[in-house]
């Protein structure tokens, strides 16, 4: 996973606690892309993902100043805030979220110019399936396969053990496979 090291992030938070707001800006810039991706994979809407990303860091700021100390693992800490926020969002929006959200999935054609229309549709379908999973199973798949986190990192984000991550990962892939039509993963 390409990301800022916890060491640097901790230093930036300590600077923030000393009153340097710009240090929090730097902290934000380092983590924003991956937190945005994490949230996007859950909400599947650019505008919502952007709004929630900002909210995550507002909450992080409040929490940081409330506790007056930097967390031991800043990345996992921010991910946990994002995790809780997306769960809340999922709960509140579950009933009115359109099922054809996957149509908005950005296939990023400039990143993958060689993809056929068929492949793009397969990706959109996969994303839709992901949305149908229980939140915790989806979290594990997002962390492990879409964000490329290790078991340990995933465990920290989800506040579970690495062993539990392995169990959930297996279960989530099975569920995804059961939901998917046969052609999707061939």
């Amino acid at each position: 996973m390409s990301s800022a090291s916890n060491n640097v992030l901790s230093k930036l938070l300590q600077q923030t606690l000393k009153g340097k707001k710009q240090a929090f800006g730097d902290f934000y810039e380092r983590l924003m892309p991956e937190i945005y991706r994490y949230i996007f994979y859950h909400v599947n809407d650019q505008q919502t993902a952007e709004d929630l990303t900002e909210t995550v860091f507002l909450k992080a700021w409040e929490s940081l100043l409330g506790n007056r100390r930097a967390p031991d693992n800043p990345r996992a800490w921010v991910y946990r805030i994002a995790h809780n926020l997306t769960i809340d969002h999922y709960r509140t929006r579950k009933n009115d979220a359109p099922l054809d959200n996957a149509l908005h999935y950005p296939a990023a054609p400039q990143d993958h110019p060689d993809l056929t229309q068929e492949q793009r549709e397969a990706q959109a379908e996969l994303h839709r399936l992901l949305e149908q999973l229980e939140p915790q199973l989806r979290q594990v798949l997002v962390c492990r396969f879409l964000l490329g986190m290790s078991h340990k990192e995933t465990a920290e984000v989800l506040s579970i053990t690495p062993g539990h991550v392995r169990v959930l990962q297996h279960r989530a892939l099975k569920r995804l496979r059961a939901l998917a039509p046969n052609h999707l993963f061939l």
């Binding site: 230093k11 600077q15 340097k20 945005y36 990303t53 950005p106 990023a108 992901l130 879409l146 998917a180």
Partner: protein, 398 residues
Amino acid sequence: MSHHLSTEQILEICLTALENGTSTLEECLARYPQAAPELEPLLRAALALQSLPTPQPSARFQRQSRSRLLAKLPEQEFVTFSGRFRHNMQDSRKASKTNFTLLLRRFNMTWIVILTLVGTLLGGGTVYASQSALPGDPLYTVKMSVEEVRLSLAGPETDVALLQEFAMERLEETETLLQQQRFDDAALALQEFQNTSMALQAALQQQAVPQEQIQQTITAMEMQMNAIAAQLQTMQQTGAEGQEAVAAQTMESLQHALEEQERSMEILHNIMAEVEDGQDMAGAGQQNGQDDQQDMEHNGQMTGTPTPEMDDEDMDDDMMTPTITPTATDGTPTPVPTATYTDDDDDDASYNDGSMGGGEEHSDDDYDDDYNYDDDMDEEHGDMEHNGGAGANGGPNN
């Protein structure tokens, strides 16, 4: 072999092998033939997930969200060195007829003195050893505490000299850290330099310091900054080994920080020019300083000299405007005048050109925050950073 392993374990082994590139899917399946029927669809699902494109926020979000977020953050009463320093300076001005606040200033720092004395008794060597510590080193906090103690014990007349020393120390630390390729720590050192530089600006405005002394400070700092700039340039040309993308990003932020410091130098130059003017005027306009100050702000021109009797709030504005580091302790948003300690329109214009790229219009919202110049500069910086890449990476824009 597969008899002893659960599907979960085999899945894990195969996923790791695929991630590391040590096995292909087919090789994995061949290795565990009995588990293969169950394993294959799971592995294919995992591979399909990995092949999903990476979503990107909109280019606009990438460019503006940082400054928008910083503007949204609720203000907080921070206890900072520079904030405290500034507060004390204001306190001193308010009660300039007595020495009471100076006494108070000493008490404010009493706890640090006590801690350091205890530390010295327990191991005087620690304080000594900390003198060569760099940002990121365990002993660096000791070094900073010692500096704070020195500053608290010094009288106002020696503040300037001490702050000059500390500012130079920060620049030297930056240079050393760059040599050691500790880029993030170097960026922190530059940030500390900015804080010290701001305190120095405040002290210079407060104290009657001979022009030669300011000139010496500026020259020394500029030489050091040129050395850092040259070092950065060499590193970019030769390419820091093994640093690659992270280094490139850090390098950019270092460059950005360095540009901020150059603006600080401009401010110091302006202060020096004012000292010169002030000496020429020999105290003329002492009574009218405050009114002049306000008029000049309204006109966008400053041709006079700020006086020590200046209103506190005005002083606040002037000290805050050019700085990169937020240290507001009163929590009240301060509208920033477009003209600060500049001698004429030219200076004002050049500051705007440098920081905003000229021609850029700002809504009132831009001035909601104490540090909107920073925000604007960030945006500008962001523009420069993202203009090239936005088109190529702005995947989900549509």
